[in-house]
């Protein structure tokens, strides 16, 4: 009895970790497993193993159209938000100007505001200005909430950049443009890339704001939400699992590249 208790107290942290990870990964595993379900309409009951869904991910009506929209919106919004956000981060991190602390505060607002409020007020604004909700309004909305995350991420990176490196470049005959190209940008690139990945994933799985401002354009999260009511096709599980593994590979690649950079 005492032995068991001692074993328990010694391994408590491990047990806790296993429980935590189980809690986190059961939904993922479930999604992955049911992507192999030989279902016809609803994907709720296990009806046998098949590769058919993976062979034919666009098999369900509209699923690939929605996915394509999500990827397009994600790429465009990420590109715009990353460029604008990086520029704002530079302004906030490098220059003293009137109203800087106010801007710093305002940048945080979209992150702190409930998405429901953002989505609803954006829709009101678009309608007031006579914009029909659709692809463009989704992109505008996504750029808006992604910028904050880009600014915060890149600003942290800029703050940790030793200003003497840029001074050293200037001292070694590099003008402002060359200094940015050869020193500042390469050193900030990992931070900017991280910010872009974050922006893409935020854009890709946003549902609430998108739902308000999308009109009849379908995105992947919206597709999942709507079809959940009448039975989700297994193709949604296929795409969800695929996205998960792509993200995993990107993270692993990033780790490998960083480790190699340090060594060589």
């Amino acid at each position: 009895m005492r032995k068991a208790r001692r074993w328990f107290s010694r391994n408590l942290i491990r047990i806790y970790a296993v429980m935590g990870f189980t809690y986190l990964f059961i939904p993922v595993l479930y999604t992955f497993a049911f992507s192999f379900n030989n279902s016809s309409k609803s994907n709720l009951v296990w009806r046998g193993f098949t590769f058919n869904n993976w062979k034919n991910p666009c098999g369900a009506p509209d699923v690939c159209n929605a996915l394509g929209n999500s990827i397009k919106i994600g790429l465009i919004a990420t590109a715009i938000a990353t460029v604008l956000g990086t520029m704002i981060a530079f302004a906030l991190g490098r220059y003293a100007f009137k109203g800087r602390s106010l801007v710093n505060l305002l940048i945080f607002l979209p992150m702190a505001t409930p998405e429901l409020v953002l989505g609803a007020s954006l829709l009101t604004m678009f309608l007031n200005f006579g914009f029909n909700p659709g692809f463009v309004t989704i992109v505008i909305a996504h750029v808006m909430f992604c910028i904050s995350f880009v600014v915060v991420t890149v600003k942290a990176r800029i703050a940790s950049l030793d200003p003497r490196l840029e001074q050293a470049a200037m001292d070694l005959y590099a003008d402002e443009r060359e200094t940015f190209r050869r020193i500042t940008f390469p050193l900030l690139a990992p931070g900017i890339a991280g910010a872009a990945l974050l922006a893409f994933s935020l854009s890709f799985d946003d549902f609430i704001i998108t739902n308000f401002n999308s009109g009849n354009v379908n995105t992947f999260p919206k597709f999942v939400y709507i079809s959940a009511e009448r039975g989700l096709p297994a193709q949604a599980n296929v795409i969800g699992s695929a996205m998960f593994f792509i993200a995993l590979i990107v993270v692993l690649l990033g780790q490998v590249v960083q480790r190699r950079r340090k060594v060589s």
Binding site: L172, Y173, I183, L187, R261
Partner: protein, 380 residues
Amino acid sequence: MVDASTSAHGDIKLSNLTKSFADFTAVDDLTLTIPEGSFFALLGPSGCGKTTTLRMIAGLEEPTAGSIFIGNTDITHMRPYKRPVNTVFQNYALFPHLSIFENVAFGLRRRGIKDVKEQVDKVLDLVELPHLAQRKPLQLSGGQQQRIAVARAIVNRPALLLLDEPLGALDLKLRRQMQIELKWIQTEIGLTFVHVTHDQEEAMTMADTIAVMNEGRIEQMGSPADLYDNPKTAFVANFLGQSNLIKGSIESNGSESLVVNLFGQKVAVPRARSSARDSSILVGIRPEKLRISPETSSASGNVLTGGIIEDVSYIGVSTQYQVLMPWGQELMVFEQNDDGVPPLDKGDRITLSWEPIFTFGLDGSEDANAGSELHNDEEE
């Protein structure tokens, strides 16, 4: 592109150079000339304005007033990348994402030189690290990074090389070695070096000329030996080595020497070595110039009696005494252990004496402790 990055050379002239920030003046009306080819040190405690002066010469700080010339070229407001000046930064500032080779080649490439390999290899040979060319900076030790920082600057053959506390991050042994190497490199390539440091020993080891800075001004400028032997202010006397400064009043003013009353005892001060403006004087004597002897034995030269040994530290080559004088002041004495006589003991009553020629006189209105608390100060 017409610029001065390769053409200008000559003496460096700073005229009335001033840098004011919102609430204080870092550099206050500084005027000095640094001869071409010399090893010049700006020495002072942190916050004395030496680094700001260096950064103005490099172009990284805009002067509030005054001008900077290299030969006949005015570089006061020139962008840093147009100046024939390169800097070895404190903590080196090597580019972490570039190889050692590319770090060193950086300046050459920016000036549009295509074939950099020969020059880079040559300078890596000079700093004895050719085998590290393909490494990244973070894989190098502190001493190696320091040498690469020097190589990266001197490969450009600037008219002026600036060194900002370049040895501050190294341990003592490595610092000594690098001092000798830097001096050797400077002699080898014949560039003008301006070296900023708070370490008086470092400045004295390497520099031909030292300017001692304090509160944005130059206290005194000269060769290491001149500054050490003939300090003109209490700050210099205390910051460069140690000094015993004793308050006194001038009793008579001879043609060769002054007779000074130090709390009732009379000593001679060479007239030429006194910078006292009136009868009030600070008499200065370096601790190693003092001789210490038991009260009973006779002494010649300048003599001060009535001291009691308060503390004895045996250092090996020398013994350091702390002696309490009758007027309550503690004096330092360094005695070489070269005569086989065992050191005196704590509590012994002793007499101090020294050759009058070693005495220097400072103005009596000065603070006798100025600069002494700043010894071995941390870097800025």
